[in-house]
Amino acid sequence: MLQELLYGLAGLAVFVIGLRGALLHDNWLLRLLSLNVCGAGVFITFVAIAYRGLTLPADPVPHALVLTGIVVAVSAMAMALALGRRLRSYDD
């Protein structure tokens, strides 16, 4: 319970830090980094609540969800970077 709460709260904090960064940055790449940090915060919360102490096996469902989330996040990042590149190509 203590570890769940501790890591869970840290996940929430990372989520809020990322959200704040995403709202404050103008630069697309930096905003993207913040969004990814924000997503990582949600993932940490998910995995934290899946943890059930050293003796019990962890809950596998959040692990599967977060694995899905990580792959979705990297896809979105690849796409975002390609769009950013395209935008800059108009300026050249």
């Binding site: 709460l5 830090i17 980094l33 896809s75 769009l83």
Partner: protein, 324 residues
């Protein structure tokens, strides 16, 4: 005694985590941001390992830190001049956001506290662990990903596919890094085969231990990306049409298996028990290829061999004109 030791480790690692997150989200320099982000990804891998999520630790180390790192490094070159160009945001706005963030955190913490209080602490875990033997694989995370919630995984592959379609639509292959240092090339020469073998191992082992299609596919892509980064011409190994087939094979095999099972067993993706292990391995193998192709293309920024592509595009133009 042990508890306290573990707790102090937890607190230390969370302290670093929050620090890295804060720095990543507050830097105004792109190079610094990217470096910190990769470090943040590696630390996440450690945290997943600590929280008994080895599948995630593997995935995060390969995808979160490795592949995203490579993507960002390549993209960074497009932003070099813009690094210090951050327009003035009003102090009022910044403080508003700060206050709102703090309030949101307090609210979320309050919600999480209540949620944990209310929870039985078991959730779906016991149900999944008990049912795993019926799924055809013995590793519970793989059972969830490829049997219980296989539909999620199918749509997730669709997300990867969509992202690559957009990358392909946004431009042809980008200028890569120049030829690397000889010593780096030498290392990649013997590292790439190791990565490819490891990828196969991860795919196979996923049935009963941490690993699986996503880690394996990303590992395979990492091998190609590393080669491409050091100036080895990866594109000479692949051509446009084979890449298209590789991209679709994962979702294709997945969907067709699902439909066949619908016709046999009455539910989409309801594997027959005796075939489940084999079917899951088949789907995972196809998905590994698709993910590897997708991530490699995402890094390259477009289909290889642009000259051949323009030729075929011209050909399409002509036939279209002929028909319309």
């Amino acid at each position: 005694m042990n508890d306290w030791l573990l707790l102090s480790f937890d607190i230390l690692i969370l302290f670093i985590l929050l620090g890295l997150a804060w720095l990543t989200c507050n830097t105004k320099e792109i190079k610094r941001g990217v470096t910190l982000f990769v470090a943040f990804g590696l630390l996440l891998a450690v945290i997943w390992a600590r929280l008994k999520a080895p599948d995630l630790a593997l995935a995060e180390a390969i995808i979160g830190a490795g592949i995203s790192g490579a993507l960002l490094l390549k993209a960074m070159r497009d932003y070099t001049e813009q690094t210090s160009l951050s327009s003035e945001t009003s102090r009022f706005y910044v403080w508003g956001i700060n206050a709102a963030s703090l309030a949101l955190f307090v609210l979320l913490a309050w919600g999480l506290w209540h949620a944990l209080e209310r929870s039985d602490g078991v959730r779906l875990a016991e149900n999944v662990l008990i049912t795993t033997p019926e799924s055809g694989v013995s590793h519970p995370v793989t059972a969830v990903l490829l049997n219980f919630r296989a539909y999620d995984t199918l749509l997730e592959l669709a997300v990867v596919f969509t992202a690559v379609l957009v990358v392909l639509a946004m431009g042809t292959k980008q200028r890569d890094f120049g030829k690397g240092e000889p010593i780096l090339i030498a290392m990649v020469r013997w590292l790439a085969p190791i990565l490819i073998v490891t990828s196969g191992y991860l795919l196979w082992v996923g049935a009963h231990a941490p690993g699986g299609a996503f880690q394996a596919g990303a590992m395979l892509a990492a091998a190609f990306i590393l080669m491409s980064m050091t100036g080895v011409r990866v594109d000479s190994m692949l051509n446009d049409s084979s890449m298209r087939w590789l991209l679709v094979i994962g979702i294709g095999v997945f969907t067709i298996t699902g439909i066949v099972m619908l016709l046999i067993n009455g539910h989409f993706l309801a594997y027959s028990k005796e075939l489940a292990k084999m079917l899951i391995l088949l789907i995972e193998a196809a998905a590994t290829l698709s993910i590897a192709a997708a991530l490699t293309l995402a890094y390259l920024g477009g289909m290889p061999k642009p000259q051949q592509k323009t030729q075929s595009a011209v050909k399409i133009d002509k036939t279209e004109e002929g028909t319309s």
